[in-house]
Symmetry: D2
Subunit: 355 residues, 4 copies
């Protein structure tokens, strides 16, 4: 059995308590500190999980040679300075989504982690749910065939955020899941973003992202803070089967449909008319794989420890976080030109770095 | 009681039998002829509804002075010549959706009807369902407040059409419903269309339309022929309430949610920051109005008769059909430039004509 | 190809038109007559299906030597005299559910059919739906293992019938399906019936049937005319898998769950305590077999023809109808003693006869 | 503001931690001790909620004059001795469901509490959920009219219990809710119980309870440990409206249907035939009241404190717990005679005592 790694949680707001609880629960980690500028808040979190050292002094945490790693759950705009300081102090870093508040700053973080030989992990929590892990496995083993389209809807009566729009608040979930599940990651060739702020809050509350993928498939995301009903649903259509993930149906979160449209044995070189004439329909069985009910964050903190120990990029690496940022950046640019498609800047560059 | 009007059905394919059956069933119409180039097909339709005269001679139908009106259910590309001929023969015309295969040809039809003082009605059947009629009523009476967004999803494992893409096949339903329900009709300022043809059939099988509306709301349509599951769902979000129409849930097709986000008493002139700080949330009751189960097409043929008798535009007029075409045309243009937004040509002009 | 058999439909009320349409549609039958005391009603049915001879004279139909068979859709209390007359006239008979209005009269009919060497078929329509046929197949091939329980719910805001209670109106569906699906038929050892007539209509509007089965399993039926929501759901629990049929979910009518409770390898002779200690749980995949969408009544009329041609009992024979009656009779007896269990009289006897 | 009352939690197993957490959270209580024979278990519970005194010595707890009340979450068969000792020590008592393991022992407890002038409260947690509180309110204010039937289904793949059958494990929930919601409590005139143990575990795993109510309505409960799908659904049908509680649908837990069957203006003295002829159907709107999302146990511990302070019976009193036991006892008797209806012994007696 491995010796426990020492970790500090930075930020005791909404997400920090969950990180602290999971870091304390497993056998990988020793929770060495909970750090928050508001020491009382840190103390309440520590109390709630049966006790842990607390501090308001981030510099002291980073200076502590016993601490191997930090898990950061502070507002997005503070990620860059804290992560850079932590990396420069030789700490491995896990950071809540989104990795940073701009693609440029995210890129700096990823490069610094590479230079310093440290793990930089994006806490893309959904990727560690049993459903998403199974989706990745099914796509990887070819159960769906070639991916034809991905359509994700994440809508709810949501808290309008003071500093980010609905794209930056919700879409990182969908984008990081797509990046995790699709073979080769989320390879969007361009992004068109359509946003709406009908209440005049100063930022989009409703958003749509259309992203043609390399190879001809289409990815689309619908996020919405104004929906009275809650939907969290992703469809991945393939040439062989189509998968529907309905995260709000605990009795059948994942359904794999052996239904679809087949193009006959004609070659791709055939004219469209001939191809259309060879269309047939499959109406086969549906299959819903059993999934454990298990907290994803337990898998996140295990993966963080494993990637440190095995000196490898984590499954949701800084580079993955950066690919998400590159789409968000392109989306912001597209919003500025009324939805005209924008290239995904730095995507290739991002792939060249390793975190 | 009114004397029955004489009507001929033109086209005995998929939709014609439904028209014939409904025209024969009520007390408004005398079904004077079923006309199809394939006389046997016409005869089978007539047999199926208890008998009606049949013919393969369209010219004879149009020349018959006893015939007041024609209901056309032929392929879209034939609408223009048949409708023009019928209008020139002095017949009132109802035509299956879409009104025509281009906005330009639709515009000619609408102008000709106006010039000749004849009714030109679009058979936007969904608009006469109990659910959509109730939606229109609720919006009109202010139950939703100002409309903030409209989101429509119409996906299914659908028949890939030989001559039209998924936008022209499915979106006319969503667009005509939006035009019917929204006060002032579907006033899109531009259209961005994102299509995908991942099977290489030569036309989009998956489509998204983003349409900013006058006044700042957003309308969006998702149509898809490759979905293994069937969804027909429209959400209309308002400042007061939000309506969800789930057409595949016969036990509760329409739900009105008294849930939403309120911006405090600050004026519209206030800065966005102040406005965001005044956000509050309503989590009120849900209400599902009772709806009759009744065939929409019965309402269509009644409205056709009523608009002729009352010498008025029908509730789904040629102008309404033309507004749908103007969006489809803009969508086609947008597809050609990879989804960049395109203006909705002729929208104002369309409003100036009356059908 | 076989020569068509000649058939007359007796009764042109609610169900007769469906019978007539299906008998006319396939290639097995020639619809020789529609017979109803109300000749106009018969004529309307004939018109609606493209024409057929009509008559009000039942005796003439039965005396017609060209007519091979009759399909009877008259009120239950008239089944006995009409069926007996038809059998005595040498006609094969199909009769709407319930077979008769008492077990005794049903028994006479079954015996007479046997004596005369004629087919007597119960029109248990549900048994010919793709879902129920698949259920029977799955049970027969052992996919569920041994059956542990069957639970059926059939509730709706239903038409309160003038002459029958909710048991006789609705439960024949559930009972005939159970009889069809379970290996060896519905082998209830006793019946407890609990009814309620809270509106004072003079007959039960709410009903429950509890039926211990031979072998230790339990069958239960809940029927209700006063439910505002509609449920049609049957669960068949087995030692290996459990099947849920949700007839109102067209996207997934049938689900087979590989979930359940396993008793360890201890023998049945082991004490209950030991057995309880060896309990474990399976939480495997769910599988939803593809089902055609096809009208069940087409299968009914085919089976009627096939059983005549092959000189065999039909899959839903008079004996099956009689087993349903024996449960309904026991239920009526149980109602009379406030729900105390009553034996299922004549069950063995019923099995000894063949129809 | 009131001074806090001192309370000890007895039993640190499955339910105790929830009690401890809620007693510690509000402002009514001071959590003076967590008592368990297994002191380590008690300590773990105390740690998990931020600390509390622990002890293995029940006698010391009861002898402590500072302790006002105890909340008991030990196995059902231990309720009687612990509760009697606590009452004799002058403590107010709240006890997990079921109140006791027999009706007789429960009766003793209720009498002793009355004699000693102490509160004896049943922890019928569900009664304090927002949904059930609203159901009670709707029934009380006459929104449903007269209650015609109550049907409850609580099925799941459940843990087969070592010492109780499915009736004693699950039905107390349904029975206590019915008792809470129905005006005048659960007034069953008799109970028929149908159980099945198809796996041979020595106790019923599937159970049905049919309970005619005073006034002619019918109550029914279906509990099942072998269902692969989870259902928690109660329907309360009334003369004016019908309510459906679907506890697993967080988006619409409660629906009130203005649908039903009306008997015309004829008097109750009219013959059933006349009454049946005057039937009509209402198909009105559906209404889903907004419900808070709030932990029921917070309401339980508040009510316990309030009933002590106000020296009154709690809303889920010992007498209510006893009415549940009287049904369970009658059910056990009915099981012994193959489901024949059994009187609900002691029901009147139970109402005469006050806890």
């Amino acid at each position: 059995m491995n010796e426990r790694l020492n970790v500090a949680v930075i930020g005791a707001g909404y997400w920090g308590p969950n990180l602290a609880r999971n870091l304390r629960a497993g056998s990988d980690w020793n929770l060495a500190a909970i750090c928050d500028l508001d020491i009382d808040r840190a103390r309440r979190v520590a109390d709630g999980i049966g006790g842990a050292p607390v501090t308001a002094d981030l510099a002291a945490v980073l200076a502590d040679p016993l601490i191997d790693a930090v898990a950061i759950a502070t507002p997005a705009r503070t990620h860059h300075p804290i992560v850079m300081a932590a990396l420069d102090a030789g700490k491995h870093v896990m950071v809540e989504k989104p990795l940073a508040d701009t693609h440029e700053r995210g890129g700096e973080m990823v490069r610094r982690a590479t230079e310093n030989g440290l793990v930089l992990m994006a806490d893309h929590t959904y990727c560690y749910t049993p459903a998403v892990l199974k989706m990745r496995e099914l796509v990887a083993e070819g159960a769906l065939g070639d991916v034809l389209f991905v359509d994700s809807v994440r809508i709810n009566l949501g808290l309008i955020q003071p500093d980010v729009d609905v794209f930056w608040d919700l879409a990182p979930h969908d984008l990081s899941i797509m990046d995790f599940v699709l073979p080769g990651g989320l390879a969007a060739t361009s992004v068109s973003a359509h946003g709406s702020d009908p209440l005049g809050t100063g930022k989009s509350c409703i958003g749509y992202l259309a992203m043609p993928l390399e190879g001809g498939a289409m990815a689309h995301v619908h996020v919405n803070w104004l929906s009275p009903t809650k939907i969290r649903r992703m469809v991945i259509g393939g040439t062989r089967r189509t998968l529907v993930w309905d995260d709000l149906n605990p009795q059948q979160r994942l359904s794999v449909y052996d239904r679809g449209v087949d193009i006959g044995t004609v070659s791709k070189a055939t004219s469209p008319d001939t191809r259309a004439a060879n269309v047939s329909y499959r109406l086969g069985d549906t299959w819903a794989p059993a999934l454990e009910e298990r907290e994803a964050l337990g898998g996140v903190v295990s993966e963080f420890a494993a990637s440190i120990r095995e000196q490898r990029a984590s499954r949701t690496s800084g580079a993955a976080g950066l690919r998400v940022l590159s789409v968000l950046d392109a989306a912001a640019a597209s919003l500025g030109v009324y939805g005209a498609p924008q290239p995904v800047a730095g995507r290739r560059a991002a792939e060249e770095v390793a975190a």
